[in-house]
């Protein structure tokens, strides 16, 4: 089974010389279809950098980032934008819905940006909202929705158009625990249906939803299994520095 996302020896350095900050130092891992991988680590460990690079929003200093077989590093900016419209879906902690657009328009956004006719895009968006269970709120504006409802819209937007890679950055961070669990269940269901998912979180109990857990500390993967007790890994100092 081929990997939907594969990172090979990815380095990311911000700044130069004395002031250089090494956000990622030789990170490699793969996520396959049907798999949900949780990325964990303390603050500043490079989790979010990893996610922006995986989504083509940022470029690695060195290394390869393959999404469905194409190396994002070698693609042009426009081609990377195209990948985000067709292959990659983002879910953010802050929902990041566009307040000027209704729920259904927010979900239809990637399809419309991809040039799909607006009627078709809206139909697909409605189907995606149906999946996350809030199709009745389709014509509401984000400001008139609760946080959980907004995050469901964001998930619908991340999966609309049969995209196979879902990148979720602390998707439950702004939600109460009950709503958060529901959101994770939705992401899990999506992966079970064949998508590949990356879930950045710092809460150990969320990692339970994942097939595998990747631990980052100071930009280095210190464990890539599902077996080690999570709490011990979080507390342990970095294996190599």
């Amino acid at each position: 089974m081929s990997a939907v996302l594969r990172l090979v020896d990815v380095h990311r350095t911000h700044g130069e010389g004395e002031a250089a900050v090494h956000a990622l130092r030789g990170v490699s891992f793969a996520v396959h279809s049907g798999e949900l991988v949780a990325v964990m680590g303390p603050s500043g460990s490079g989790k979010s950098t990893l996610l922006t690079i995986a989504g083509g929003l940022d470029q690695p200093t060195s290394g390869r980032v393959e999404v469905e077989g194409s190396d994002l590093v070698t693609l042009s900016q426009a081609q990377r934008a195209r990948m985000r419209r067709t292959s990659i879906g983002y879910v953010f902690q802050g929902f990041n819905l566009i307040p000027a657009l209704t729920a259904v328009e927010n979900v239809a956004l990637p399809r419309e940006l991809d040039g799909v006719r607006s009627r078709t895009a809206r139909a697909e968006a409605r189907a995606a909202l149906e999946e996350v269970g809030i199709v009745d709120l389709a014509d509401r504006f984000p400001d008139d929705m609760s946080g959980g409802q907004q995050q469901r819209v964001a998930i619908a937007r991340a999966v609309v158009g049969e995209r196979r890679l879902i990148l979720a950055d602390e998707p439950t961070g702004a939600l109460d625990s009950e709503t958060g669990e529901e959101i994770l269940r939705l992401i899990r269901a999506r992966c079970d249906a064949g998508a590949a998912g990356v879930l950045v979180t710092h809460e150990a109990r969320h990692a339970a939803w994942a097939d595998r857990v990747v631990f980052l500390r100071d930009g280095v993967v210190i464990d890539e299994s599902g077996s080690a007790p999570v709490d011990r890994l979080l507390d342990e100092p970095a294996a190599s520095r």
Partner: protein, 882 residues
């Protein structure tokens, strides 16, 4: 008191820091405030410099003398203002009045004094082509009293009565070695000198009494030396019948109550209607500046919402929150005003030589009108403060919890303000209607209510703009994404959008209103234009009794032989004998034609050949009828409207000078043809065949030289100079049809340009601020895969929404005063005594559809394209999208 001051101090400190931190936005506001201040400052400074006020130009007029005294031969009951030459003077003409002599003037003034005679005026001199005009000054230029009136640049001042000094501008016209005056007097040119008052003007300087001048400043004038001549002495000389320009009085002018009662109103300045319109213009400019600067404060207020919410959370009152935003108005307004005044003065200084280049009158010393500039600076400060008021109030009323919770967007729109807006627009329509009624009635004066209606309409429009913006957002569902996003976002952020939309609308309203009035005015000019000759033809006319027609004909043949100059004959109406011609068709009203009179010295042409009617500029049908009638030996009579042909009684009467009654020369009844003419105007009353003229015993003579082939501009110039050498009364006229005043074209271009600049400014501001405000949304768009060009699309979309809503609103609002003002502007209802003749209207409306389409559709599209092209295409790639 001290508490309030402290609170302001905190607000001002926050505002100052905020202005420095968001320097791009602050710069934008600074430019918006400073630009109008700069423009007005520069204009006011240049005007003040150009004006020769009080004692400024006194050396140019008086030399080093204490005063200039001048007299008119028959002037009595003399009264004057401080400056009788420019400020006003009055006198009565009495044959027996005797003006004071030089001796009497000096005796009246008393003390150690002497006088130098000076005569200023105009004269004509011979040039290589013919005759030219020059100004003249005759005085003793070697006398130190006259120093400062003119400066010698080469040669020497005249030493005898057959010598003159001339200006370079006169030399350029090639007068030869000697100056030959009209009448044949020849004077040696012994030097060149320039007037200190006027540049690039032909001047002749000579000794007193040499030049036969026709003067403006008196028949006799003296420069008087000695101590200051005070107002008391000026009044004494007035009583003797002399006028006085006194150095001392100009420096210290008398108060209005000291003036003669006749003179107290001569310096009244502008009337109240002009003042009202001036005030309304200032109000409109203020509104425009406030609207342009408003969005910047709205965005500033929003970017400070967190600060303000924290102030509120820490126990601050809404008033304190308000002050923080108002303070930024104070800081930026003060900075903009000072900057504008300083740069405006610098600009005036830099522009002075350029402006001088276009004006023959030499400017006075560089002069800064500090007091009015204080007002201009205050205008800048007030406009910034006003622009900050609405955002300040909205910011102070914000929902603290929502802000700290991170929700964005404005509160719901008020339901009351659109109603008030509708009422205001209704009031504006009523005012405009009132203006129209006043204009059509007696007394006129509809301009003030119409100007007022313009301001009221714009105020109403500002209140209606949110409705339009929200309505567009409602309709935006089907639009492509960038437009939909822009329309919805514009509606969500009304405090930012509405001022920009209103600024564009106010600009467009002004352009549309002025455009309608200018084109309607032009339509009136075009429609009511009556050619005085056939299109393309030229004529030489002289109304003197003994005009030298053969000489004119020879001159015309010399200049344009190919155009076939020929003499036209008619019953002469020039000279002192009055000849009256009447034609009355049997059974028709007495008056046939409302107006006549053209470029021929006659009202009745006597045609030796039917083709002579071609000179009259008739349309083809009328000319054909006239030719056929003349060929049949019938007279042609022009009429306002169609009159059936038939027997007509023609009468010619004559009244010689000193005769009290007209004597009938002849009367005949013949079959005549009535030719109706357009515009109730014909160049002559009638065209008679020679046989009919003979039966009427009418005097027939040459009445004009016709040049059927016309003249080029250069030929017209040459012929003008040639006939001027024959007689000063001869005139050359070339019929070129209606010529749109080049000033109108320029004004239209300036209007369109100004509209474009202001619209670009308004939309640029709004779009720039919207984009910086929408940064999080653009980052989200990037994250879900927007192409880089989507940002361009959004930028163009914003510009289109602001520009289109603004220009449509503005065109509707501008039409109210625009249509109304055409009534007082083109009113002709008082022009005709009876019913309005065929083909004429009492009122003209011509709407410049092309210009309006360009402004309403073209400009917004163009600005949107410019915005889209100029916007950065890179979407913000935020590392942490929170």
């Amino acid at each position: 008191m001290s508490g309030r001051l402290t609170s302001w101090r905190l607000a001002l400190r926050l505002a100052r820091r905020d202005a420095r931190r968001s320097w791009v936005r602050s710069g934008l506001v600074l430019v918006l405030i400073a630009l109008p201040v700069l423009a007005v400052t520069a204009a006011a400074t240049l005007y003040e410099t150009h004006q020769m006020t009080g004692s400024e130009g006194v050396d140019r007029r008086l030399g080093t003398a204490a005063a200039k005294v001048y007299t008119y031969r028959h002037a009595a009951d003399v009264a004057q203002t401080a400056d009788p030459e420019t400020g006003g003077a009055s006198w009565a003409t009495r044959r027996r009045a005797t003006p004071p002599t030089e001796r009497q003037v000096l005796d009246t003034l008393g003390g150690e004094r002497r006088a130098v005679p000076i005569a200023t005026g105009y004269l004509r001199y011979r040039t290589a082509e013919g005759m030219g005009d020059a100004q003249s000054v005759a005085t003793d230029f070697d006398d130190p009293l006259t120093a400062g009136i003119a400066t010698l640049s080469s040669g020497h001042w005249p030493e005898s009565d057959d010598e003159v000094v001339v200006s370079q501008a006169l030399l350029d016209r090639d007068p030869g070695e000697q100056l030959t005056l009209r009448g044949g007097t020849k004077l040696d040119i012994v030097g060149t000198a320039e007037s200190t008052s006027y540049r690039d003007t032909a001047f002749v300087f000579a000794r007193p009494g040499v030049l036969p001048t026709t003067g403006s400043s008196g028949d006799q004038a003296w420069l008087v030396a000695g101590g200051p001549v005070v107002w008391q002495q000026v009044r004494q000389l007035n009583d003797l019948g002399a006028f006085v320009v006194s150095r001392a009085v100009l420096a210290d002018p008398p108060s209005a109550s000291q003036l003669d009662p006749d003179m107290q109103y001569s310096d009244a300045g502008i009337d109240s209607a002009e003042l009202t319109i001036l005030v309304l213009i200032v109000v409109m400019v203020l509104i425009e500046v406030v609207l342009l600067a408003g969005p910047a404060f709205a965005v500033g207020a929003r970017q400070q919402t967190r600060t303000l919410a924290l102030i509120a959370a820490a126990g601050g009152t809404p008033r304190q929150a308000r002050r923080v935003i108002l303070a930024s108005g104070v800081v930026l307004g003060a900075a903009g005003a000072v900057l504008g005044v300083v740069l405006g003065i610098a600009a005036a200084r830099a522009l002075q030589p350029l402006v001088q280049h276009f004006d023959v009158q030499r400017f006075g010393p560089f002069d800064v009108p500090w007091l009015p500039l204080g007002g201009v600076a205050a205008f800048g400060l007030v406009s910034a403060l006003l622009a900050a008021v609405v955002p300040a109030f909205i910011a102070s009323r914000q929902n603290v919890v929502a802000v700290l919770g991170g929700r964005r967007g404005d509160t719901r729109a008020s339901r009351r303000s659109p109603l008030i807006g509708l009422v205001l627009v209704g009031v504006a329509v009523a005012l405009a209607a009132l203006g129209v009624r006043r204009a059509s009635g007696m007394g006129g004066g509809g301009e003030v209510p119409i100007a007022l209606s313009a301001v009221v309409a714009v105020l109403g429009m500002i209140l209606l703009a949110p409705v339009a913006v929200v309505a567009l957002a409602r309709l935006a569902g089907r639009l492509p994404l960038p437009l939909r996003f822009a329309a919805r976002d514009a509606a969500r952020h009304r405090t930012r959008t509405v001022p920009a939309v209103a600024a564009v609308a106010a600009t467009v309203a002004g352009v549309v209103a002025l455009g309608i009035s200018i084109t309607s005015d032009e339509a009136e000019n075009r429609e009511t234009y009556t050619p005085r000759l056939a299109m393309g033809q030229a004529s030489v006319t002289d109304y003197a009794q003994k005009a030298d027609w053969p000489a004119y004909l020879a001159a015309a043949r010399e200049v344009a032989p190919e155009s076939g100059p020929t003499l036209i004959r008619g019953i002469p109406s020039g000279g002192r004998t009055y000849v009256d011609f009447r034609a009355r068709f049997v059974g028709q009203p007495r008056s046939m034609l409302s107006s006549w009179g053209g470029e021929l010295a006659t009202s009745v042409v006597v045609a030796r050949d039917p083709a002579d009617v071609d000179a009259l500029g008739l349309d083809a049908e009328a000319a054909g009828r006239a030719r056929r009638a003349l060929a049949a030996g019938q007279p042609v009579v022009f009429a306002d409207r169609a009159v059936p042909d038939g027997p007509a009684r023609l009468t010619v009467k004559q009244q010689a000078p000193r005769e009290r009654r007209m004597t009938t020369l002849g009367q005949v009844q013949v079959d005549a043809v009535a030719v109706p003419v357009a515009q109730a105007y014909a160049p002559v009353q009638a065209v008679l065949p020679t046989s009919v003229a003979r039966r009427l015993h009418a005097p027939v003579a040459d009445v004009g030289v016709l040049v059927p082939g016309g003249l080029s501009s250069a030929q017209q110039q040459d012929l003008s100079e040639k006939v001027a050498a024959i007689s000063s009364r001869a005139e050359v006229y070339v019929e070129r049809g209606y010529q749109a005043d080049s000033a109108v074209v320029i004004i239209k271009l300036i209007l369109a340009g100004l509209g474009a600049v202001l619209m670009l400014g308004g939309t640029l501001t709004a779009t720039f601020l919207a984009l910086s405000d929408a940064k999080p949304d653009l980052a989200t768009l990037a994250a879900v895969g927007a192409r880089p060009r989507t940002r361009r699309g959004v930028a163009g979309g914003y510009a289109l929404v602001v520009g289109l809503v603004g220009s449509v609103l503005g065109a509707l609002i501008g039409a109210i005063p625009g249509l109304a003002i055409t009534y007082p502007l083109t009113d002709r209802s008082g022009y005709f005594s009876g019913p309005v003749p065929d083909g004429l209207a009492t009122h003209y409306i011509d709407i410049p559809w092309l210009m309006i389409a360009g402004v309403v559709l073209g400009l917004p599209l163009l600005t949107a394209l410019v915005m889209a092209a100029a916007a950065r295409s890179r979407l913000p790639m935020v590392a942490r999208l929170q």
